[in-house]
């Protein structure tokens, strides 16, 4: 077990950057009560951000990912989260096998 000083600096820097985001939101949020269009924009943040994180995997990786994503989205309309994960993992393994990967 060892800790390299440069690695530690990177970890601490990453930790500070992340906590600043979480803390910053906590500070801002209590003072804002958005309405109308502003509220619509704020309400759109969760689905927009979650979608953005995975969109390249689904749309710009390969056809097995795109097809498995479509099956997973279909599963998400009728199954609980654990079933959605099951369908996603099973379909990606099968489709990558078919793709020869």
């Amino acid at each position: 077990m060892s800790i390299d000083p440069v690695t530690l600096a990177a970890i601490l820097g990453m930790a500070l950057a992340t906590y600043a985001c979480r803390f910053g939101g906590l500070m801002i949020g209590g003072r804002l009560a958005p309405t109308g269009r502003t509220k619509a924009a704020v309400d759109a943040i969760p689905p927009a951000v979650l979608t953005a994180v995975i969109a390249p995997t689904l749309l710009a990786t390969g056809w097995p990912e795109t097809l498995a994503g479509a099956l997973t989205i279909l599963a998400a309309t009728r199954l609980p989260l654990i079933g959605v994960i099951g369908v996603g993992v099973a379909s990606i393994v099968a489709l990558r096998f078919l793709a020869g990967g």
Partner: protein
């Protein structure tokens, strides 16, 4: 007193039940992180420390991708900030819903705010008041789950082989799809998701990671503003 304790216990248990799929989905991702980080030369202690202090799966995986020798500290911190900038917005959105909880507890509780427990807390806040037992209990367990599986990855990783063979990497994608589906209750939200997906993919292809996260976030927000109608909030 015992009623309060019973309520707290039931709130804590509610949190665990809601969180359990996310905990199961996080395990392979944490294992993957621990395994890849080990292959990049991080010690098990460094891996566990990074998971405990950063506690952000997407940013940690991205950092490990960028990890070289010498360690590009500034690039890692910038990438982490860009990927986690969403937490400013997410925390801001959740803050009023937990404002009744002790501030000092929120300072710690928000450190363990991740996509999954945040989404669950938002969903619950839409239906009922968030309690300390629910919010902090769920956060603590999710944090412990992430740190322990990351550490396990440093041990098991070298034995597992290529994680892609088991589709473990896609568990991350599947859980995000499930979480997004939970938000899409109206056609209005469907438009937000489509706008975000297209903008994020375009930015990813044109500029690369992690800019796609900001591009998608702002495209989704723009779509929400453009397609907003008065009666939605009336």
């Amino acid at each position: 007193m015992s009623e309060i304790a019973a309520d707290s216990w039931s709130e804590f248990r509610d949190g665990l039940v809601e969180l359990s799929p996310a905990m199961i989905a996080a395990a392979p991702i944490a294992l993957l992180y621990g395994a890849i980080a080990t292959s990049k030369g991080l010690s098990p202690l460094e891996v566990a420390l990074s998971s405990a202090l950063v506690f952000a799966g997407g940013a940690q995986l991205a950092a490990i991708e960028l990890w070289t020798n010498p360690v590009p500290v500034a690039a890692l911190v910038l990438s982490t900030f860009l990927i986690n900038a969403r937490y400013i917005l997410m925390s801001a959105s959740l803050a009023p819903k937990v404002a009744h909880l002790p501030f000092a507890a929120n300072l710690v509780g928000f450190h363990v705010l991740a996509d999954e427990n945040w989404a669950l807390a938002e969903r619950r806040a839409a239906r009922r008041r968030i309690t300390a037992a629910y919010f902090f209990g769920m956060g603590a367990v999710f944090w412990l789950n992430w740190v322990l599986w990351s550490w396990a990855g440093t041990v098991l990783g070298p034995l597992l082989g290529d994680p892609k063979r088991f589709g473990a990497d896609f568990a991350f994608t599947a859980i995000f799809i499930g979480l997004v589906a939970g938000f899409v209750t109206t056609r209005h939200h469907g438009i937000v998701v489509i706008a975000s997906a297209l903008a994020a993919t375009a930015a990813y292809v044109a500029v690369g990671s992690p800019w796609h996260v900001l591009a998608g976030a702002f495209a989704g927000m723009a779509a929400a503003v453009i397609f907003w109608r008065e009666e939605k909030t009336a």
